[in-house]
């Protein structure tokens, strides 16, 4: 019964998407839209899967793999840095944190897209620069949400644990981390989302591979099919990344429903 309900939900959600794809296919063919500017869906897919398409699957996959590699490396670094720094600031040195807040907010508000050319000045154009900007962008949501989680821990919980003669390690591992965990997971998901956002931007500015480059290159060459292909790829990868993170989140943090609000 439950699975039937789920199937109903999925199919009703898919209906609209399928209808829109049919509309996309039909509109240029029926002359409602100019096929030069809006090529039918099948034409866009044919650039990959059709015989003699200009983006054969091997090339498409290598671009996707490059993009994914960059975003995952940058994201891993920002988690490895962000979570411990948040714990240091929020847990170990709570007095220092208010003194740094304004600086963090200032830095986090710098639009990363215009920071990227500046970063290129320091690190030559290429992988390092792209990974750095992804790390930079994703770092702030991870830091801020984790910090907010640490600040929100109910002091009663810690007092209670102390009352049960728990030492600092026990308090940290059995009280603090479980309490902050939902926030960490949310911060990580947000970080991955913004990291992917800036990835495409950085790749359009300076890269020689990747989905962003594909779009930028197609735009330069006036290859309309490829522009749509790149957008499709970006949409699919972005949704997949988010979906995977949401699944992990709901599996790991099963006890707490998460609000959708985000902190950037």
């Amino acid at each position: 019964m439950k699975s039937l309900k789920k199937f109903g939900a999925v199919s009703s959600g898919a209906t609209l998407i399928i209808l829109l794809i049919i509309l996309w296919e039909a509109a240029p063919r029926l002359g409602w839209a100019n096929p030069t500017f809006i090529p039918p869906f099948s034409t866009v897919l044919n650039t990959v899967f059709g015989a003699g398409g200009d983006t054969p699957p091997s090339i498409a996959i290598s671009h996707i793999a490059n993009s994914l590699r960059r975003v995952l490396i940058g994201f891993a670094i920002c988690v490895i840095l962000g979570v411990p720094i948040a714990f240091l600031l929020g847990g170990a040195f709570p007095k220092v944190t208010p003194w740094l807040r304004s600086l963090f907010q200032f830095l986090s508000q710098i639009p990363p897209y215009i920071l990227y050319p500046v970063i290129i000045l320091f690190m030559s154009q290429g992988e390092t620069g792209i990974i750095f900007i992804i790390t930079w962008t994703g770092f702030w949501p991870v830091l801020f949400t984790t910090l907010a989680g640490i600040a929100d821990i109910d002091p009663k919980l810690i007092k209670c644990a102390r009352g049960m003669n728990a030492n600092r390690f026990v308090i940290f591992f059995k009280v603090v981390i479980p309490a902050v965990f939902p926030n960490i997971m949310r911060g990580i998901r947000l970080g991955l989302n913004v990291g992917f956002l800036i990835l495409i931007g950085a790749e359009t500015m300076g890269a020689n591979s990747g989905v962003g480059w594909l779009i930028q290159n197609a735009q330069r060459m006036g290859n309309v099919n490829r522009i749509y292909l790149g957008a499709l790829m970006a949409a699919i990868i972005g949704s997949l990344l988010n979906w995977v993170m949401e699944k992990i989140e709901s599996r790991v943090v099963s006890w707490k429903p998460l609000p959708e609000e985000a902190i950037i």
Binding site: I17, Q105, F106, P111, Y113, I114, A235
Partner: protein
């Protein structure tokens, strides 16, 4: 109770320290990478005040960018809230149909959308506005929908027993309930708008802050490149601050309830 002065210094000191370190570091780095902040600020000051120099066109470009942002945000607020409320309150069935599509659109990278919008709308003002709109409408739809959905059913039942009609239900129960979170979405949208505006104006434009930034970069005027980055950052912070003040003005009850 900490005084305002203390808080002010607390906010100011780290930023001052940041600039001081920058100033120190800039002296020890090969030229052409990192100009000292004093030079950056001086160049920006000149760009902002000397009106007949080549660089004095800053304000014109700022106005253009603000127009793009303002219009884009305005459309995003109106349309995003309408959709958010409709899907979150009266059309729950439709939500199931729309939500997956919206989620995909939300995750559809704005950078990937830029070339498509150029094809659709041509290059120009409308395209820039629509990019800002596209980037900032999703956080608004999401927050509005989620909050409207999380509305306590008892409130609606209570209002119904008092013979509230649909409009009263909306204006006196649902809207006030969601208002605090509308601002969350709004602040997020403002950040995104500033995030995207430069990206939108970098390609195929003849004015706006993005164009200004790009032209300084092409001329390798590093002071102004760094200056523009700072300028846009400060603008974004000011806007967020303004919305924060607005929020406090509107939402007196939430503050009172939690203090």
């Amino acid at each position: 109770m900490k005084t305002r002065l203390f808080r002010f210094t607390q906010g100011l000191v780290p930023i001052a320290a940041f600039f001081a370190v920058w100033q120190l570091v800039a002296g020890h780095i090969p030229k052409g990478i990192l100009p000292a902040p004093s030079r950056v600020l001086a160049a920006m000051w000149k760009a902002a005040t000397v009106s007949n120099s080549i660089t004095g066109i800053l304000w014109k470009h700022l106005l253009v960018s603000l127009q793009h942002i303002g219009l884009g945000l305005l459309f995003a607020i109106v349309i995003g809230n309408i959709f958010g409320f409709l899907l979150g309150t009266y059309f729950r069935k439709a939500e199931r149909v729309f939500l997956p599509f919206f989620k995909i659109c939300e995750k559809l990278n704005p950078f990937a959308v830029i070339p498509i919008f150029m094809i659709f709308f041509g290059i120009g003002r409308f395209e820039k506005v629509s990019i800002v709109f596209w980037a900032s409408v999703w956080p608004i739809i999401t927050t509005t929908r989620e909050t409207a959905r999380s509305l306590d059913n008892k409130l609606i039942k209570a209002a119904r027993t008092m013979a509230a009609d649909r409009w009263e239900l909306f204006s006196k129960v649902i809207f006030p309930f969601t208002l605090p979170n509308l601002f969350t979405g709004l602040k997020l949208a403002v950040s995104t708008a500033f995030f995207m505006i430069v990206a939108a104006e970098l390609v195929g434009s003849k004015d706006g802050l993005g164009w200004y930034y790009m032209s300084q970069q092409h001329n390798y005027k590093l002071d102004l490149v760094y200056g523009t980055v700072l300028f846009i950052t400060v603008l974004a912070i000011l806007f967020r601050y303004a919305f924060g003040r607005l929020e406090k003005r509107f939402i007196v009850w939430k503050e009172a309830a939690f203090n």
